[in-house]
Symmetry: C2
């Protein structure tokens, strides 16, 4: 196998320094002249000096009357004086030029009588009172804005006020994105991926990001894994004027990763490999004076490469002002181990618990774009650290507006589709509530409650001894915690099997007898406890089940295994089977409850959620999902109640 090797891994600042030192910015980015009123967000290439003053004349700063100040000095409260129109005063509106011989303005509110021919005032004016003087705002010829200024909306007003109709600005950074790979499908063809194929989407993330940097971007049709094709595409992009060429994927160490060899041949590879995860396989080089970026293929790695490595270089090229993401302090809800020697970026779901910002580390796979869509923030673990302990306080860069955190409710614990249903409904409120769910299983939810990391946990823990739900576990693991337990739904758990149930599975005995390939849920998940119980009741053990150790973290992921034939069956909820058009063999009913510390029960977000659960429309929508009963929905549960709907609070 022919493989690439990484050059020495560089830190991001080292990589940026090396690249900016190698690029000739002045030669690369030219000036252009554009109309001032279209220049917001652009960067001035030359200083601007005012052409016209503003105002160009002394003018009335208020609606009222223009007067000679000296003729008003006698006026006192209780000793009014009268002024005669056109002799002593002239009516003016804001912005009118100060009439000749007048040197002050009295505002209309201070005119106590007005016959149309004369007015009465009780307060004198001082010279130049309420007068906007010549050049008060802008004086012709003065420096209005310096070179390299990123023009704000306000600047546009200043430019036009100063009579500047055109400005010299740096041309926008032009970027061409070349997706590569035999396995990538062009999204514009609306493809249906087969095994081994992926829909190319990174280019569109890059384009959306780059457009926020005011770049001009274009994407070309994906090129196959072929050095000649890649070289041709890079050459063409440069011929057509690209300042930056991004080669999507192909910069890693795989046998089909040609980016490095192609760029080495065409120009110079400056950086290959950065000491950051995700993002490590990033590559930077120059070809014919242009910057060429080899972006990793994994979406999260690609985002780190584009935002953290390319972003600052583009800002430097464009000389534009950079708006940083606000930084906040968060408390880590879980321990995050990290590898020494590499800086790590960890995506975080962040919610307010009392006065704290609590951060739940999201899944760390670089291939999961949804960890970015779900993240509220990102933290960085330094290369010198082996990780962050649970409860540690760290800095996080926000990916959402800070105010949104106050409208975000974290639900930690078992995953259920009814939680997604609520999440969507809550976004329809006049004041939307953002429900962020972290799927760590029912026991994970209890542990999050214990550590104070959440105001609400979803659990469906069945205790075989008492035949009760959740309460026995609360007594055992959270004995000192005063919790209110609200039922969200009774749901059906059963075997999810292929359409038509080809193995004729009717229960655990069939799964074993037919050596059906099973897919399990992760340790701590309520569904797994339920399965273990059923297994024990059947007098069997995990060793009897083929695939007992293969784990999924959600019902849907589990069902997808059955859909694709990767497994024959798994225990899950009806909704997941139905969603993928699979068959379902009921095994049990169980309670899916929400556990809420009494201390948080009156939090407005919790109350909003509970009010939503109490709506008749919510009950109907839960039933429409199938596999649910709503006889207990919204009710506060009591210990020992089991599935009994008669014992209500």
């Amino acid at each position: 196998m022919e493989r690439n090797i990484y050059l020495d891994l560089m830190t991001i600042p080292e990589a940026i320094d090396k690249v900016t030192a190698a690029l000739d910015r002045d030669g690369l980015i030219k000036q252009e002249t554009i109309p001032s009123h279209e220049a917001a967000g652009r960067v001035l290439a030359r200083p601007v000096y005012a052409r016209t003053s503003s105002p160009t004349f002394h003018s009335a700063a208020m609606d009222g009357i223009a007067v000679k100040a000296a003729s008003t000095f006698a006026a006192r409260e209780g000793r009014p004086i009268q002024l005669v129109r056109n002799r002593d005063y002239i009516p003016v509106n804001t912005g009118n030029p100060l009439p000749a011989d007048m040197d002050a303005v009295i505002m209309i509110e201070d005119v106590i009588e007005d016959t149309g021919e004369s007015v009465t005032i009780e307060k004198g004016a001082f010279p130049m009172q309420h007068v906007r003087r010549i050049g008060e705002d802008i004086v012709a010829t003065e420096l209005l804005l310096p070179q390299n200024r990123t023009l704000s909306p306000y600047d546009i007003g200043a430019l036009l006020s100063a009579g500047i109709w055109e400005v010299s600005v740096w041309e926008p950074v032009r970027m061409t994105i070349i997706p590569t790979g035999d396995e990538v499908l062009d999204f514009t063809t609306r493809p249906q991926p087969k095994p081994g194929q992926v829909i190319e989407s990174n280019s569109q993330v890059f384009m959306a990001l780059a457009s926020t940097w005011n770049c001009e971007t274009q994407r070309v049709t994906p090129v196959p894994d072929n050095p000649e094709a890649l070289q041709k595409a890079v050459d063409q992009a440069i011929d057509q004027g690209a300042h930056v060429v991004i080669v999507g994927a192909g910069s890693s160490a795989g046998s089909k990763d040609y980016s490095k060899s192609v760029i080495s041949r065409m120009g110079e590879v400056l950086v290959h490999g950065i000491a950051v995860m995700p993002g490590k396989p990033s590559m930077l080089g120059t070809v014919r004076g242009r910057l060429v970026v080899g972006a990793p293929g994994y979406p999260v790695s690609a985002v780190v490469c584009i935002e953290e490595l390319l972003g600052p270089i583009v800002a430097w090229l464009s000389r534009a002002r950079v708006w940083e993401r606000p930084e906040i302090t968060v408390e880590m809800a879980r321990k995050v181990p990290s590898k020494l020697g590499l800086e790590e970026r960890v995506r975080l779901a962040i919610g307010r618990v009392g006065e704290k910002n609590v951060a739940i580390p999201l899944a760390r796979g670089a291939g999961m774009i949804t960890t970015l869509t779900k993240a509220h923030g990102m933290t960085s673990i330094p290369a010198t650290s082996e990780g962050v302990e649970q409860g540690a306080t760290v800095k996080a860069r926000l990916l959402v507006p800070q105010a949104e955190l106050h409208q975000t409710l974290l639900v930690i614990g078992s995953h259920d589709n009814t939680v997604d249903l609520l999440a969507n409904k809550l976004m329809g409120l006049e004041n939307p509530l953002y429900l962020a769910s972290s799927h760590v299983g029912s026991m994970g939810g209890l542990m999050a409650l214990k550590s104070g990391s959440t105001m609400i946990a979803g659990a469906h823990l069945f205790d075989p001894e008492t035949e009760d739900y959740n309460f026995p576990f609360i007594r055992k693991y959270l004995p000192d915690m005063d919790l209110i337990v609200v039922n969200l739904a009774i749901r059906h758990q059963g075997f999810i099997v292929a359409p038509g149930n080809p193995l004729h599975i009717t229960g655990i005995k069939d799964v074993i007898a037919k050596q059906a390939r099973f897919v399990n849920r992760q340790r701590g998940a309520g569904t797994r406890i339920l399965f273990d119980h059923a297994l024990k009741q059947a007098g069997k053990s995990p060793a009897d089940i083929v695939g007992y150790d293969s784990e999924e973290f959600t019902h849907m992921a589990l069902a997808a295994n059955v859909l694709t034939g990767a497994a024959d069956c798994g225990l899950g909820i009806y909704a997941a089977a139905k969603a993928l058009n699979l068959d379902f063999v009921p095994l049990a009913r169980e309670r899916y409850d929400l556990l809420i510390p009494r201390a948080h029960y009156n939090d407005p977000k919790i109350q909003t959620l509970l009010a939503m659960i109490g709506q008749e429309s919510t009950r109907q929508q839960i039933q429409a999902l199938g596999g649910y009963e709503t006889t207990l929905t919204g009710q506060i549960m009591q210990p020992g109640q089991g599935l009994d709907a008669t014992q209500t609070s």
Copy 2:
């Protein structure tokens, strides 16, 4: 005079509540379907459920070899095992589907020998090691993104990965801007304003702001002060589909302010007058279900109306995520009095002095757009407060990136064109330094040093007794302060007179003899002290000077008075006369120095500035301005040195 009266002034939150309650958002803003890859920044009208899973297959998460985990268990460090190609392993690149019968991947870095036909490993693989499972990122049918989600660049990646090619989004808010006023000039005609005329520029500030909110905006040609014309323009804008119509100016209480009467006749005025300065004359109403905004004419008032009043309403209409401006704590360098009963917005120049953010309140005139272009932040003085004391700590919303404050150097004191020259040059550095100058006169600069509000002050204070500059004043006002005084330039002060010097002014005696209308600088300005000294030397007093009490704050503003004939002469610097093609009658040479506390002398920003002053190119550019000598430029001054260049440090 026919005048409008304001309805009861409302607070901004009251006004927003009243307007959103009156608008039928669902009726106004429709859904539309657009390609997913063009949807960044748009707001989902409906939830999105995944169509395709990602990945759709178990796939290699690393470059390496796919193996059966069980066949590798025996490998240990020092006890390698050999695997045979196509029987025990198959080479894979990241993203390849896991070959049939293989259940784990060993990364290439862990393969210690590779003949092409066989490999050697020293470490076993566990099942599913380095395998991306089906649906790891996205499971078909699951809720991918909820309704009313503002789509991020990352979301675009998730949408395409999930096989979602189109999305239903809320249509953008469409906004039409109608400038009004007989006095406004259409900037598109590149006009030259005459007295009483102003260049219309607010519309372009609005459009630039609204485009950052993802609105579709258009501006129509300004309409004259005529109710029928205004009514026609509003009707036309609504006919053409505007959701929001902004009428520029005309909402105040002047006799030509027709907006209120026109909107009352066409629909309903909901808000007229808000309890905020600037911004008070804002008007909001509805016509045919659309929002009509009467924006004040003054640019700063208009910005407050558009950003603070309309902005939140547009965010509500569009259901979009709102990115707030970061808030920081600043120390006020000067007292700011404020009127009870009105909330006041104060623009601030903010710089770092040591570890503090120091804020200089900028001029408060609502007509000065440059107070916004110069502002780094904005603070709010509540309606219940009579103002903010010097040294008080207040919150300010940032208008610039926070990092920029660390690159901003405040120069407080006397104004000089050489400071602007430096400001522009410093923006050309590889790491630009933002020089923000606040023009409060030389004595104002000394007071700012005294209160610790600045690291550097510009002063040209002449002491007639000692014939020295600045040091006598430092001894008197800052006796305990250890200051380093660096000369920026020697400059010429003289009478600025009309071209050809029509009154033949050669000195103070002519100014008095010819009763020339004089324009003075403000109290505390070094130029004023110089003039008072010359006056005294001539045995004259202020009462002998016509216009002694008329004040300007900068040389350029002073010169503009002469240019337009508002004054016959004023004392100022040569550069200002030259810039406006006026004549100049030299009266004196003086030193313009920079005063720097020793404690700040080694601050990198100060050192950058001093290095810039020391450059030969800077000296040449100062000389090219005219009216300057650079024999002392960049030198550290000593007491008693006066204009003597021989006594260097």
